[in-house]
Symmetry: C2
Subunit: 86 residues, 2 copies
């Protein structure tokens, strides 16, 4: 692995875990008032578009990273809608 591949893999790993602390915080506090639902829908839409791109070009790190972010954004949208109703 070259240094630039290592940088790319580090970036992909960090991007994958980006929303884990946010999901954890929301799950713990059940408070979602300050979170932007628009942001979450943009994240969901962009990950689906990146998945189309990555599947077409068979870019495995991009497929894995975006699958994780896509799943986490769906979780955040679910929490946002569930906890706002209260």
């Amino acid at each position: 692995m070259t240094w630039i591949e290592l940088v790319g893999h580090t970036g992909a790993f960090l991007t994958s875990v980006t929303f884990i602390p946010q999901v954890y915080k929301v799950w713990k506090t059940k408070s979602v008032n300050d979170l932007s639902l628009t942001m979450m829908f943009i994240v969901l839409t962009s990950t689906i578009i990146w998945l189309i791109y990555a599947v077409a070009l068979m870019l495995w790190p991009v497929i894995v990273a975006n699958s994780i972010v896509c799943f986490l954004s769906i979780l955040l949208i679910y929490f946002k809608l569930a906890y706002t109703r209260k």
Copy 2:
């Protein structure tokens, strides 16, 4: 431009604007309790790593997208720290 390039550019555009609704919401409400500071620092770190990657490989759409997200994450960190102190 091929369809796959168009998909990539659409993804890059959406990724760039991801945090705009969140920055706007925080700027309007001055409320940041539900936002994860850890998430913001992961976003900041990952965009810096992606910038190193993209500058080394001269990937202009990746450079532009990550510069915007990097700037927005710094703004969010500033808001989070400024409005939490109150």
